[in-house]
């Protein structure tokens, strides 16, 4: 398990990380999302030891990570970088050896990954002679060539064509299936939602939400329900738990409180006529992301001096803020395909 615990980093007056804490289990694909400048790259650099944090630790298998352990990590930085004039094969062999592989193993691994990522026929070419897409593949091979025990990839999907995206997704799943904790950042939220077991949302140097997508859904403040009915406008206004309602020709879109019982709504609608559609609208990761960010808008807002030394663990604030345990727990029983929204206790008695 890879654990990041209370990472803090300050560049001059600017606070880049303000207590970043999350963990990635073996075999877990962890999506790391956040706005530009939120602290993703800084977090990853610290994880790889490229940067040193002001405070906090990175642990792997329970032990603080040292440089020997880091050599077994694989890293793809956001700013792509390879020696432009070095030949692809030589470069991969070199990086593999730097990560501690023997010469023979490095050669085998380089060949394997060039084959696997379809750049084998360019092995003898200088990197600068390759197309950007192929350079990206070589970069990926560079992160994978030493069979890393942990994979940290900063924006690995950006710049890839759809085939490349599928190819990479497959590779990442495969690595995870072998028990490797995989962390990657991306702005392509659908992709993250589709691929990841867990996600973490970072905003202005703080983790504002972590957990599974379903867990985050379950923990959100409101739910949206679409009801197809011919009942007249205003029919749902007085149902307990309905925050607001929008009526159209085909029915209504209702906003419910987390505690609201949707079956009460269904009963009410059926009492007024046939119900052709009853759909809890699942929030996409993009929506969850926007909400999480909106909730924390203003946190640490360009005022670094405001909270000079917040205590450890005071990383996130606000309702949706969640340490991993809190947000992940209620999500467990939810199945994405069912119409049932995340179960919540019936607090309000149903009365029609």
């Amino acid at each position: 398990m890879l654990e990041l615990d209370g990472l803090r980093k300050r560049y001059g007056d600017r606070v880049a990380l303000d207590g970043v804490t999350f963990s990635v289990r073996p075999g877990e694909l962890y999506g790391f999302v956040g706005t530009n400048g939120a602290g993703k790259t800084t977090t990853m650099r610290i994880t790889l030891g490229v940067l040193e944090p002001d405070a906090g630790t990175v642990r792997y298998q329970g032990k603080p990570v040292d440089s020997a352990t880091r050599r077994t990590f694989g890293y793809m930085p956001e700013e792509r970088g390879l020696y432009p004039k070095m030949r692809v094969g030589d470069q991969l062999r070199y990086l593999a050896e730097l990560h501690g592989l023997s010469r023979g193993d490095a050669d085998k691994a380089a060949k394997y990954w060039m084959e696997r990522l379809s750049v084998a026929e360019r092995a003898g070419d200088r990197v600068e002679a390759l197309s950007l897409g192929n350079q990206q593949r070589v970069q990926l091979a560079a992160a994978l060539v030493h069979h890393p025990a942990v994979l940290v990839l900063d924006e690995p999907f950006s710049g890839l064509d759809p085939v490349g995206v599928d190819n990479l997704a497959e590779v990442l799943r495969e690595r995870a299936a072998e028990g490797v904790p995989v962390v990657f950042s991306s702005h392509q939220l659908e992709l993250v939602e589709r691929l990841c077991d867990s996600i973490g949302i970072i905003y202005r140097g703080r983790m504002v939400a972590t957990g599974t997508v379903d867990g985050l859904r379950a923990s959100r403040a409101e739910r949206v329900l679409t009801v197809g009915t011919e009942a007249g406008a205003g029919w749902a206004d007085r149902i307990p738990g309905v925050v607001s309602a929008e009526y159209g020709a085909d029915g209504a879109t209702l906003l419910l409180t987390p505690e609201a019982d949707d079956q009460v709504v269904l009963d009410a609608a059926r009492a007024l006529g046939p119900v052709r559609e009853f759909t809890p609208k699942r929030a996409s990761l993009a929506e969850l992301f926007r909400e999480a960010v909106a909730d924390h808008d203003g946190d640490g807002d360009g005022a670094p001096a405001a909270e000079p030394e917040p205590g450890p663990g005071a990383s996130a604030s606000g309702a949706a803020s969640a340490d991993p345990a809190a947000s992940a727990a209620p999500a467990a029983p939810t199945e994405p395909a069912t119409a049932e929204p995340a179960p919540t206790a019936d607090s309000e008695g149903p009365t029609a």
Binding site: G49, R70, Y75, E79, G81, Y83, K85, E97, L98
Partner: protein, 382 residues
Amino acid sequence: MNRNTVRLVMRREFVERGRDRGFAIAVGISLAIVLVSVLIASLVSSKNKTPSFDVGFAGTRAAVEQQMAERDASAYKIKLTSTIIAGGDLAAAQQQVKDGKLDALVTDGMVYVQDEVDPKLAPVLATANLAAQVPNLDQVQAQTTMKLAPKDPAAGQRKTVALIAEIMLFSQMIAYCMWVATGVVEEKASRVIEVLLSTVSPRALLTGKIIGIGALGLLQLAATAAVGIGAGSATGALHLSPQVWQTVGIVAVWFILGYIFYAAAYAAVAARVSRQEEMQTAVQPLNLLLMVPYFTAFAAIGNPDAGWVRALSLIPPFSVLIQPVRIAGGDAAWWEPVVAIGLMAGLTVVIVLAGARVYENSVLRFGSKVSLRAAWTAGRKA
């Protein structure tokens, strides 16, 4: 700092740079310079070569004159090839003089030449002519020369060797230090540095780079020395004296010391910028720090035993380029190079430590040039 990673970095630098066209060009140029200077030297020395003459002797005094001429030839610094011409062949011999096959034909009291007697040959023939007419040859007393203030016959060669050593040292140091600087910026500009630093420490990276490129520099130095000495001794421009090998050793030692000193400084300066174009301006002060001692060295070569040369030859980093000038001087004390090397080594250690610190603190800061203060104090740990 992991020794194995230093070795890997070193090997990469050596192999990749060695494959680079720039290396082939650099070696080509330095070999060309050495060959041309050897050629010039051999031309100059052939000009000073002892001239040789073919002279025929005929007539009744022929045998005595030949004997006298042969004896005096070396005293007059000429080489004489002489033949006795039988009386009947006189016309044929005159024809040979006309054709230029003989430089002179001497008969009793007569000298036949094409146009005029070579001034170097004339006194030999004149002396022989006179001596041959002395009845009792044994009574003629030979003259002996006593040298009262002899010149050092090797002084000229020493000066030449010092000059070549100077040029080699300077061009090698500036070329290989620039390579280090370019390499540092290349890693920064291409951002490969981030991948590298996730597995290699900055110090290991810097150490491997400096040693790898320096090894290539030594290789070029060795090749140049081998070709220069080979060509020099083949053309006769160079006498293979112990002094030549000593010079090669001195140049190698000073190259290693000077290269490490300057390379660490160049690397530190280069680490503060993110693009090659900025690097050119950033290293200007260092170029100057190399060029000033270099031009001073040229001034010093004419007067290698002057007090100011002796003083500068001990002071680092001047000593790198001034100490080898003392090769040209004849009376360097044994302790001079020892003290010079000791002082330079000490300063090199300081510069390497400071350079590594600046490098470490700057190499991951992209964008505008890292200020010296930030490079010194802040960086990865701040």
